[in-house]
Each structure stands twice: as structure tokens, then as C-alpha cells.
Symmetry: C2
Subunit: 274 residues, 2 copies
């Protein structure tokens, strides 16, 4: 009887309205914004999804058909989808068989500043979805307390970005701003020091002290930080490099800075030498 009910309920067609809407959510930032939703793929992203924001879960017929997989969904309402229709709704080429629709969460800047020793990232116009997701993942690991992004930064809810965050998109507080000037003013007011990562920086990044409230400003992959935003920073820092390399990948540069801050913050030595 159970099997019959499942089969009757199963979504079979790629023109089913739910599948069509999943495709919209996967491919169109505008649809995601209007509906306040995004899609996360894979078992891990389903497992880590905050239950209060989990709107709907779709499972492929063949994934659900394996008995050992069903325990994953016990007590949860899931929608079974034929493999073909499921694949159409996926961004990945070899879907694992689980897709979930998640409610977006909006933070306000003041929430990001409430941490005891704020540790922030300010991202200006980052373009690569994979880089952006990797930065979120790295930031959570480094202990970053919040991320502020310019409105021209890649969409955090792009499926490739969501995947690259490895779940950090659920947990990292972030907000999107159209103008950094009020942000910079708020940081200054709260004595959060701002560091512009800049190829023209003269101060080596290892020589600054990040143990108090701090924020790193990371610029666009090609153009770096705008002069306008860099000009508002307290300190220009640079990562000196060997060889003939002219720059680091944006996610790598951000990682090097964040983990130097983490190193200093973890250090029990609270004296001058860090």
C-alpha cells in the first residue's frame, strides 16, 4: 500500500510546476530573490539544513528506492521525483538524489557587529561563484563572525556557490550592501580596525595585530579593491610573494589573511610579539 501511495504521488514530468520552479530557482537569481528561497543539493546539504528554514525536500526515485537511504528522511515530508525529472531540476551533472528548498535568511549589519571581538570580511564585487563559496567555507573555519558583500558580488545563492560553501551558507551571518561608506563608519565607531588587502600595500600582513575587532577588505578577482573602498580603510596590507606571481587567487588571499588572524587570536601569547 505504501508503495502505491508513493507511486501515485511521484512527480514524473519535467513540466510539473514544482520542477519548473526548481529550475527557475537554480538558474535565476531574480526568481530566488522574489521568492526568498534557494536550492541546496546533496545529502550533506540536506543533513545540515536548518530545519526551521527547510521548505521542501525532493528525493529521486532511485535514491529513495534504496532502503538504507530512507532513514535519512524519517519524520520528514519528502516529495519523490522520477530520476529524469529530478536530473532536470539539478545543477550538478551527477546528482546524489536529494534536493532541498531553503528559506533565505536576512541579517542586518548591527547583528554582524554584536560579536565580542568581531572578525569580519568585506567582499567587494567578487565575481567567481566558486571563490565566493570557498571564502564562506574558509571563513567559518577561521572563526569569522560575519561577511558583508557589495551588491555586485556574485549571488551567494547561486547553486555552484552554495555547493562550495559546504554548508557554511546556512551558518555564516552575512549581509549585502549597496554602499560600503555607512558600513565603514559603523566599524570605525565600534573600533573595528579595517585592513585593505592591496598589491600596493606597504605593511606586510603578518605585521598587523588582528586580536582586537578587525575586518579584511577583499577586492574583485581582476581589478582588486576599488580606490574608493581602499581609501576608507585604516591600514593597507599586502601579502609579499616570491617568484614571478603577480597575485594570489582571491579565495587563497582571503584564506591566508583569515588564518593569520586566527593564529594570532588563538595564540596564548597576548604580549606584543605575535
Amino acid at each position: 500500500m505504501g508503495d502505491c501511495i508513493c507511486a501515485e504521488r511521484m512527480i514524473n514530468s519535467t513540466s510539473n510546476p514544482q520542477i519548473k520552479n526548481l529550475i527557475q530557482l537554480q538558474t535565476k537569481a531574480k526568481a530566488r530573490k522574489e521568492q526568498g528561497l534557494f536550492v541546496a543539493e546533496g545529502v550533506r546539504m540536506y543533513r545540515e539544513a536548518p530545519r526551521g528554514r527547510l521548505v521542501k525536500t525532493y528525493v529521486s526515485e532511485s535514491f529513495y528506492g534504496k532502503e538504507q537511504n530512507q532513514a535519512l528522511f524519517s519524520g520528514q515530508d519528502v516529495e519523490i521525483v522520477s530520476d529524469r525529472a529530478f536530473a532536470a531540476a539539478c545543477d550538478t551533472r551527477t546528482p546524489q538524489g536529494v534536493l532541498c528548498v531553503i528559506r533565505q535568511k536576512a541579517y542586518e549589519l548591527p547583528e554582524l557587529l554584536q560579536a565580542k571581538r568581531p572578525f569580519l570580511l568585506l567582499l567587494e564585487d567578487l565575481q567567481d561563484p566558486g571563490n565566493l563559496g570557498t571564502i564562506f567555507r574558509t571563513a567559518e573555519a577561521a572563526g569569522v563572525t560575519g561577511i558583508v558583500m557589495s551588491a555586485r558580488t556574485a549571488d551567494i545563492y547561486n547553486p555552484k556557490t552554495v555547493r562550495a560553501t559546504m554548508g557554511s551558507v546556512y551558518r555564516m551571518p552575512f549581509c549585502i550592501v549597496s554602499d560600503f561608506a555607512p558600513v565603514m563608519a559603523a566599524l570605525r565607531e565600534q573600533h573595528i580596525r579595517t585592513y585593505a588587502a592591496h598589491l600596493k600595500g606597504t605593511r606586510e600582513y603578518t605585521e598587523a595585530d588582528y586580536r582586537t575587532g578587525c575586518a579584511f577588505l577583499i577586492g574583485n578577482e581582476g581589478a582588486g579593491l576599488s580606490g574608493e573602498l581602499a581609501g576608507m580603510a585604516d591600514t593597507y596590507i599586502r601579502i609579499s610573494m616570491s617568484g614571478q606571481t603577480e597575485s594570489l587567487n582571491a579565495a587563497v588571499a582571503a584564506a591566508v589573511l583569515m588564518f593569520e588572524a586566527r593564529r594570532q587570536r588563538m595564540s596564548e601569547n597576548t604580549g606584543a610579539a605575535v
Copy 2:
């Protein structure tokens, strides 16, 4: 008259044998290996190509048609290719208009150990072409003196990898080995300390001293280092993480380790505290 000669010489067809071979070199690791060649795309990769290893340069008709571009090729023998045939030979979707064929360069392990204070990376079965290229780029910037890769690591000459290296593929000495045991023995003999980056490591990576000869062992994205290789390392290290992140992206983890080593090596403080 000059224009006429160009037009006569121009490759027009995607079935031209040179274009067909470029496609082979772009898409087949086997073809690259048999011919000992690889393809690099873009103006930057052309500019930085070691002239002694530059076998042939192809330029798209429209790129060559712009007078300001021709200075790039002064004194060099280039082959003009119609835009359509050129696009067929490219891996990138929006080709810049320059493609070059480069001779591969083979290094032997002893060459990698000749540096005064060797600083090595050992990569075991890394799978993502972009990660591998980013690691080469980061390694050059961090001052790494050589990279040893397992035979099952992604192909360094994959077009996506070559692109991600941003030219480091030309300059970073590397070799590919089928067995790490003799490598580890050679490192031990030369007092180069080996550090296995491992989620099970107990020693924080910031607590080790990398100022003498050192080598980091980096494992596969999904599986991490094999027990066999990790077991041969002098020291297990770990990068402790905040939040719920379980791991870092492989290129990010490698960057964090390499730049900590660089920080220590650059430090003028040669005492115990680093």
C-alpha cells in the same frame, strides 16, 4: 602585400591537421604525453612562456587584425587562424586570441632537492584540475622550491590546470612519481622534515618549525592522505577549525600551510619563538 601573404597562410578549417592536433592536445592527456607538449591560452601565458620551450604560436585572425596587438609577436613566427577554427582549438569559451604550444619539461627528484633550504609540496592523488593549478600558483608565491605529485594526481597539463597556474607551470620545478616511498627516504636522508596535513593530526600547524628544509604532504580532496603515505611522515599536523566546518578546500589548506611556513622563514626572529 603583407596582408596578402597573411591571408594565404591563414588556417581556415577546423579539419586542418594543426587544428586537429591542437584539439587532441587540449582534450587528451595521452596525446600531450606522447608528444611531450601542452597548450597554453591567452596573452599572459604567451608572454610568460619560456622562449626556448615555445614550439608554436597561433593567433586568431581578429586578434592579429588589431594593429596594437601585433607588437606582441614582433620577431616571432606566428600562425594566423580564422576565428572559427581558432575557437575550435580553444578550451576557454571566450578565447583571447592567442594559443601557444609549449614543450613539457621533465625534472628529476634530485633537482628538486638542490635548494639551500628545500620547501616542498607532496601532492597525493589531487583530483580537481582547478585546485591543482591554484596550488602551483600559490606555491610559487609562497616560495616553494619544488612539487612532487603522485601519478594519479590530475594532469598538470590539463588546460584548466594550466590556466589556473597563471604561469607558474612554466617556472615551478615538479616531478611525478608512482611511489612515494623512495621520495620519503630521499627527504629523510637530506634532513628535510615531512609534515602530513591530516584531520587526525594532534599538533597544530602553527606549532611546528618550518625554517629548515620541510615538505608538506597534501592528500586527495575527498579521502585525504592515504594511511600509507601519512604513516611515512615525520609529523602529523592539523589546522584546527571553528564552527561546523569539517575540512578546508585542498588548495586553501595547502595555502594556509605554505604561508605559515613562509611567515616563519621570512621572520628575522630566528630564535625559538616563531
